[in-house]
Symmetry: D2
Subunit: 441 residues, 4 copies
Amino acid sequence: MGAVTSTFLAGVALVKKGIGRPFGSLSQLQTIRLGKRYEGRNPLIKDFIPLAELSDLVFGGWDALGRNLYETALQAGVLPENMLQHVRGELEGVLPWKAVFDRQYVRNLNGTFVKEIPNKMKQAQALIQDIERFKKEQGLKRLVILWCASTEIHLERSPVHESLGAFEKGLEENSPEIPPSMIYAYAALQTKTPYANGAPNLGAHIPALWELAEKNKVPIAGRDFKTGQTMMKTLVAPGLKMRMLGLHGWYSTNILGNLDGEVLADPLSFRAKEKSKISVLDTILEPKMYPELYGEYCHKVRIDYYPPRGDAKEGWDNIDLFGWLGLPMQIKINFLCRDSILAAPIVLDLALFLDLARRAGLSGIQEWLSFYFKSPMCRPDLEPEHDLFIQHLKLKNTLRLLMGEEVLDHSGLDYYEELPPGAGTAPPAQLLNKATPFQTS
Amino acid sequence: MGAVTSTFLAGVALVKKGIGRPFGSLSQLQTIRLGKRYEGRNPLIKDFIPLAELSDLVFGGWDALGRNLYETALQAGVLPENMLQHVRGELEGVLPWKAVFDRQYVRNLNGTFVKEIPNKMKQAQALIQDIERFKKEQGLKRLVILWCASTEIHLERSPVHESLGAFEKGLEENSPEIPPSMIYAYAALQTKTPYANGAPNLGAHIPALWELAEKNKVPIAGRDFKTGQTMMKTLVAPGLKMRMLGLHGWYSTNILGNLDGEVLADPLSFRAKEKSKISVLDTILEPKMYPELYGEYCHKVRIDYYPPRGDAKEGWDNIDLFGWLGLPMQIKINFLCRDSILAAPIVLDLALFLDLARRAGLSGIQEWLSFYFKSPMCRPDLEPEHDLFIQHLKLKNTLRLLMGEEVLDHSGLDYYEELPPGAGTAPPAQLLNKATPFQTS
Amino acid sequence: MGAVTSTFLAGVALVKKGIGRPFGSLSQLQTIRLGKRYEGRNPLIKDFIPLAELSDLVFGGWDALGRNLYETALQAGVLPENMLQHVRGELEGVLPWKAVFDRQYVRNLNGTFVKEIPNKMKQAQALIQDIERFKKEQGLKRLVILWCASTEIHLERSPVHESLGAFEKGLEENSPEIPPSMIYAYAALQTKTPYANGAPNLGAHIPALWELAEKNKVPIAGRDFKTGQTMMKTLVAPGLKMRMLGLHGWYSTNILGNLDGEVLADPLSFRAKEKSKISVLDTILEPKMYPELYGEYCHKVRIDYYPPRGDAKEGWDNIDLFGWLGLPMQIKINFLCRDSILAAPIVLDLALFLDLARRAGLSGIQEWLSFYFKSPMCRPDLEPEHDLFIQHLKLKNTLRLLMGEEVLDHSGLDYYEELPPGAGTAPPAQLLNKATPFQTS
Amino acid sequence: MGAVTSTFLAGVALVKKGIGRPFGSLSQLQTIRLGKRYEGRNPLIKDFIPLAELSDLVFGGWDALGRNLYETALQAGVLPENMLQHVRGELEGVLPWKAVFDRQYVRNLNGTFVKEIPNKMKQAQALIQDIERFKKEQGLKRLVILWCASTEIHLERSPVHESLGAFEKGLEENSPEIPPSMIYAYAALQTKTPYANGAPNLGAHIPALWELAEKNKVPIAGRDFKTGQTMMKTLVAPGLKMRMLGLHGWYSTNILGNLDGEVLADPLSFRAKEKSKISVLDTILEPKMYPELYGEYCHKVRIDYYPPRGDAKEGWDNIDLFGWLGLPMQIKINFLCRDSILAAPIVLDLALFLDLARRAGLSGIQEWLSFYFKSPMCRPDLEPEHDLFIQHLKLKNTLRLLMGEEVLDHSGLDYYEELPPGAGTAPPAQLLNKATPFQTS
């Protein structure tokens, strides 16, 4: 529970008091179009589909530093102090529980408020007890768990991750392949709590935990909240591809001065983040499908720890593109963003949508929540979908499907052509007939 | 036939010789996914739907300066001279016809190669003769006409535009409300030639010419090719809205040094361009639907004539956005673009798709070609669609419909849930059942 | 007394309380090197030369809106409210006097706290009375007057400005060529008060007032405080010239949302500002001396009123330069600056240095204060000096001269060569002897 | 002889043919003011002081790849091919000599045209023979040697560098502390040839070679040509300091795709470059003198190898500054520069000025040439001067001194005050008298 969590909690408390507004949150603010454009049916998502209310939410969590959330928020410096004063009581009331933490996996962070339990399976059981105690004490019906902690060092998938059996054996035997993030994910799934991973580390993204999620019918989502530079990248790259503009190179650098930046100054943690940020372009641009456009571009991503900025991250992107006959052009994007400000509404939406998913009987990987992630999880045999537009349509069409509404496909020829009654989105026969004489001459 | 046309023609000639590639053109390079993701059916658009071939194309047109296209291309400075050498013969062979031109409507341009016909109806007839002569001389089956000329001064719609009758009377009486662009559009539609307008002036965007298009069964499209800054705007603005990030302001400035820039240095021509560029944001952001996010933003657009750049336009955008609890962020975008390089493939695609539309029996406003325009035309009672992604999905789903393929909606829940056979895109019954117990408690 | 003045006053009060630091002020913070580099004599300017102390300063002034300075500071939004709280009393205690104001000269500002005196000479006398009353009431020995008000519309010099006699006749006869800024300047000089003009309007920059300044032995300085974009321009342009890099064009745009921006949205006020900003480059680059480098560049300056930014002005410059064999390069500078934050220390320095100048017996135009101005005043037959470095050297060498210290010229060959005793900065004889055999072969 | 040398040579040949102009070169294009401003004495530097003529220059050099200079220039891609055609003969005629090269010191470069001599002293003697043979074959009176080769890995100074004796012993014994750059410098100084080092490696910057330079009366200069980003830094940083604006941080990143970038992708070579680039700010800003302004800033410099750009390097700087009362501002500078285009005129000027220096009898470190270097050499007990303005004044005042002209100090009070005849730049007595009554009250 650091900068993101304290910004999220302070925000929810401010919104409940009517002092702040949850900008950035689809679940709270976005409308959803139903039916044809002229019908004017555009309810708020939260009026369309039954989500939990902010007033029903209660918060708890772990932290390796042990400060109350007011101290954490002050230290993070994301929200101005005079804003925090309004909810000081609410934040001071949230006291973290001792964390499962191991500096081997987050080398630039010194955890001091940590469970002194050497065995990983025992650590998992202690987390499960925390979860159940919290649920009982607070009289809660349902829970959701979100990983908002620091990026762990990069780990490759290994045999211990490949089945639930191997994984539980690994826990018993303190396998070094199992970092804390996986222990938390295991504890969540064992208690049938939906789980999402906001960092690039593997978390629940291993076959062992997919198996557990299916077994216990729990929805999972991840990985790595899509906040500043990557959000822009997943906007701009699909645009280049839509317009068939080629790419010579994309250079991205980031400066940030918060704890996240300090952790990522460790090359091993950076490696995990870099893989998450790099993968985006290839999946969007499909170099194999478009070798002459995207077969040879140079993609570099840098993150530099730069203390003057605190949480106010800044990204600079230089994009070398080419068009008609190969002539070169350049786009430069300078994003003065606020990491936690972009992440907080994602936390809220994921909590509410994962809770919805479980109630709707959905389980396992929730690809329709790809919208929120830099490295979206999907069925292992499919490619992840990185295009922000497609992710958004997928999210909203999923909500439409869940509520029995017709999905949108934006074809819309029927606004102009008389379609036979009941044709719906099926191919209109008369167009096909018109189409038959198609020849170039 | 200026910078855009000469770049387009030189490009087509180079592509036909195998020296250049038509980057930026969907019709030539883009694939289209058919069926489910795992089917791997991704033909090129041009292999999927029968478009005219580049080798079938023949070019002619009007120009108020009268130079051959090689001279025009040299003067425009878009393509390097050593590239133009390869197709010098082809370009020198294209000699423009005398233009219908009136300096009252394009005040910073001095037309010297102009039809000396005082009456506007007679001018239209002269254009019709040009068209018919060209068709006959070249032995052509079909034509398409594209307006790639300078931006005329801003004109409001007036009674003379409201019906075909009033319009033809206006032509007879030399109404000042009828600029050359409308005379060309009229001539195109009278000869049943599909017509698209690449500039922001009204062109065919008046009820009189919609009437004529419907009467003669001719497809029309427009207005204002979506090239640099506005292309980025229609990528980024939908992204902000998808993420429910609010907007305090958007400041856009452009510097360009070509003839287009010189024409737009006239405030009356700039007014037409400004309206076209300004309208984009409101339609995307829907301030009425989202007053607390988009109710009060400040949107400024500047274009400055800056000769050092020639055709290499540069845009700088500053975007003041806000997120969670109203905290501010900024995005700055610097686009070193090439106007004609971005416009040339649009010209090619529109020519081929409008020709396709006519063969498919489509007529009137082609909203599915909105993808290519800053101020897309649509049914008068609908709002234009500015979101580049929706425009792209609409274009491709229209092609799918024309060929009898299933449209895409990216819902994709069926990859994860077992759907009943034949459910198609209809709401899956079992999800609805699951959904019935939805309550927040 | 608007944004600049309230920021200046609040700052002085905070500095006196030890809460803030006067960053940006040479008079308070800068050292001055005396003698050779190795001597280590680098006193603070304020310890080197006897300047007035902050604790001796007392403030008064006019304002057309009539609010106390605390209200003005809150409204300006430059300093955070919690900073202002510390000096609320001091600021509330400064109540402006009724202004001489005429909306004809500042068309976008509605003055409501204005002297109801129709005759301009009578207005001047009323200002003189204000000055004398303030001096007497506060028991002051010396005064300085600084114009920190809005930019008036552009006026050309005309006969009424050419002599003191003509000017006083113009005052009597209410000449429209005499705007309020000149009436204030006249009142200052009549009371022997040193005067500086922080805006681009003419103010004291007319022969009539030079004459009065000489007659009354009063130092004057101006015009237009050099704050953000122009400060950068006077850094970068001399750099290009030093390196003999040529210039194709320089495009500058500014967005600002404060009252200054609103006033400059009036084209007539903008014209005055534009002239001030444009003149800078030509004087630095000397196109006549370097026609092949600077003979044909395009220089554009835009200012746009953009309310989202308040006082936090932003500038964007694009510079098209060329080097060896004419090959082109580009520099883009994006300055997120704070107008009043940059202006406040200038106000302080000018007040102290003008007071110093009068005590040192200097009078008339003070070219050595050019450092602080966009359009520095100088002897009419000389060109103004815009190069920030030369301005800075001139300022410090003037201080050295005033105190009898040797001036610096940074030649420094004597660190490496043995010079004859007492050679000082005179040409070292032995170098000349060495130089005699200079031939190319 | 790589990108810089071939650009330099092609340029000189083009200038001699009247096809190109030596923009960027002070020796060819800059004027020098003599006397007072109103005297109008502004000769070209080359008309003021007797420099060698371009027509007298002859070129030779070493290269580890062995291509002729036309091939090298084509490969470098700096100058357009149609420009190179005009001087193809001249460039093909310059064939490099086999280099002293050791991959241990430049790890990302594969030298193939290399002297097969194992002993370092013998390598030096081979270089000396090359020099003498060239001088004799071409009938030359004087030579200058410039290091324009790749950056070697970072080496610290060690005992072998501390005296000429130790150094020559090191050569004999193949000391690993002696990289090729020092062997070339030794060969230059032994043949009494003035030498300058354009790369950041130590080169002649060791006491052993200072000793040799003094002994043989040879002028030396270095290190690291000041081209793009650092040139801007030495413009902007002095400006901040002049204005007493504080600094929280300065982040600089560079992307470049030429051989230089490839070499610098080796962390050991980058370390040498980084030290050269980092040192600039501290020396300019003097944190010890101004601890509250510059005591704690964060300075980061990145260089990334990014092939899409070739020689067209791009820098992006973000500067976090603060002003009045500590309020923050930001400057971002984006420099699309051309490394070799900026370096070529430096090579020319250094060649001519070093030759001048030797004829004028100057020897050892030439601090007055600091203007051209990122890490300027100076007397070991002094701080190097990084401020571009001071460097420029120093250069020109040195030329004035050499020719017996009065140096400039820009004090200029005498334009305004009547000075006693012959006062020159000495402190004017009457000002001091005026100054005596200075008191604050």
